[in-house]
């Protein structure tokens, strides 16, 4: 897909470097987020870490 043509509505410059990094990050972060969530589930399961107040608030969103 040629994205340079499909930014019809957008009016800001997404930036070439930002797009490329984003594509890489989405791949890496995608895996990392899955691992992180899994890890926190394990930690919470064993009650090793008390959730902070802020986390509770964020979870309300």
């Amino acid at each position: 897909m040629d994205f340079s043509l499909s930014y019809i509505i957008g009016y800001i410059d997404p930036g070439t470097g930002s797009i490329i990094l984003q594509a890489i990050a989405a791949g890496v972060v995608g895996g990392a987020v899955a691992v992180k969530l899994f890890w926190h589930r394990i930690i919470n399961f064993f009650g090793l870490k008390k959730q902070s107040k802020h986390d509770d608030e964020a979870a309300d969103d």
Binding site: P14, T16, S18, A23, V29
Partner: protein, 455 residues
């Protein structure tokens, strides 16, 4: 009818004033996206959750230009504030709000086409997204156009505030489209490279921008699946919400430590203030030098809309967390340096309003402030009086004499060049601009509260 000066970059539409009302013109070029925003149910969902400012469509309004597709009237925000006036938690909440909106938008087949911090305002005690024209149709595979902007406007300043110094939020006042990532990457401590999210979203992001600076075609084939895009948003959320500043969990009540009062005089001061506020019947109050906003709370409890300004970002942050916890809707804490208040900036000095050009209060509280301005900052009493006269009609101000230990502290390391700084001199300076209506000495202290009305 006049276009609002800060609303000109986005060709989708703009804000304008029409006989005192603030309206938004939706241009024909944005028609499909606007119809999708409403038709997909996204508008309704975001409105219901209090995340997007509600608006009503005005039928029969011709608009300001012939490109008009629709004219909408958004609910008016009584006081506009800017990211460089927010404390850490305020900027953090604004960042999380933006990401939550992007997540919900993706679920409705839309995506944010910008992620500017200026699209968020604090309204009724909470952040709310104010630009109804920021949504575009999402196409499978397309990267998020506003990713770079999000990092510049939110993640970069939050990281700097967290890892370097909380006062660096003021950099947002210089860089109106967010902080350049190469600059932030160079400023952040080296150890932030061991933070997975900062390594990616700031350091490698900056390197990638540099590498592809002169290769505009390189990103043409970049594609990101919807699932991956979701993960990216979740990853950004985790990154933003895990950042912390020193004292972010300090209780509001514990923060108020540098008062110069015994319990008796503190309570007396509250009582006198309460009575003086009642007598001034305020609608809109600015509390200048509010610290955490402990006295602003009295005005807010009376139903006045109150803004608590302080130079101390940590105190403002404590105040914000307090109103958030208590769901106070009519008190907004903001960071302001009164000796250098926010100027009119951006294109033609007009894009972001100076503090004085925004909705001014009817009543000003200036408690335990005058000695800081007059002695620490060498501002003559007469000039302080003139400034107060410019911004309000009712003034409740505390005079703190030289005999007070806080003033003694300020004078300890410097020459006393303030022969006029005494109660008589204070009265003389202020009576030029105000009529003094009430004078009450605070019990067990040398301090005096004055209630005045503008001449």
């Amino acid at each position: 009818m006049n276009k609002v000066s800060g609303s000109f970059r986005d060709p989708s539409g703009f804000l304008f004033e029409d006989s005192g009302s603030l309206l938004r013109q939706v241009n024909r070029s944005y028609r499909n996206e606007y119809d999708l925003l409403v038709g997909s149910g996204l508008y309704e969902v975001l409105k219901k959750k209090g995340m997007l400012i509600p608006h009503r469509e005005l039928d029969g309004h011709a608009g300001l230009t012939d490109e008009a597709y629709k004219i909408i009237q958004p609910e008016r925000i009584p006081f506009i504030s800017y990211p460089y006036e927010w404390s850490f938690t305020q900027l953090q909440d604004a960042a999380l709000m933006t990401l939550n909106i992007q997540k919900i938008a993706l679920d409705h087949g839309m995506s944010l086409k910008d992620a500017s911090a200026y699209n968020i305002q604090f309204h009724n005690g909470k952040p709310v997204f104010i630009d109804s024209l920021s949504f575009e149709r999402y196409e499978e595979g397309r990267p998020w156009v506003a990713y770079g902007q999000f990092c510049r406007h939110f993640l970069a300043p939050l990281a700097l505030m967290s890892y370097s110094d909380v006062r660096l939020s003021r950099l947002l006042q210089i860089h109106l489209d967010g902080l350049p990532l190469d600059m932030v990457s160079a400023m952040l401590p080296w150890r932030t490279r061991f933070s997975f999210s900062l390594l990616i979203h700031i350091h490698l992001h900056a390197a990638s921008q540099k590498k592809y600076k002169n290769k505009p075609g390189a990103a043409k084939k970049a594609s990101i699946s919807k699932n991956r895009l979701h993960s990216l948003i979740v990853g950004l959320k985790l990154a933003a919400e895990r950042l912390r500043i020193r004292g972010q969990h300090t209780e509001w009540a514990n923060y108020y430590t540098f008062t110069n009062y015994s319990d008796a005089s503190f309570n007396h001061k509250k009582k006198v203030l309460s009575s003086m506020l009642k007598n001034s019947e305020p609608d809109v109050v600015w509390d200048l030098g509010a610290n955490t906003g402990i006295f602003s709370q009295i005005a807010a409890d009376m139903g006045a809309r109150c803004i608590a300004f302080d130079i101390d970002s940590l105190a403002v942050d404590a105040g914000y967390r307090f109103i958030k916890k208590n769901k106070t809707s009519n008190l907004l804490p903001l960071v302001i340096d009164l000796t250098n208040p926010s100027p009119g900036i951006g294109w033609n000095h007009n894009e972001r309003m100076s503090l004085k050009h925004r909705n001014l209060p009817d009543t000003v509280l200036a408690l335990a402030l005058i000695h800081h301005l007059a002695i620490s900052d060498n501002i003559p009493l007469e000039m302080i009086a003139r400034f107060m006269h410019d911004i309000c009609s009712n003034l409740i101000i505390e005079f703190v004499p030289k005999s007070d230990s806080q003033v003694q502290k300020l004078l300890a390391s410097r020459k006393d060049v303030f022969p006029e700084y005494h109660e008589e001199g204070f009265r003389k300076a202020f009576e030029k601009y105000f009529e003094i209506l009430e004078v009450v000495r605070v019990d067990e202290s040398d301090r005096t509260l004055f209630r005045m009305r503008k001449r």
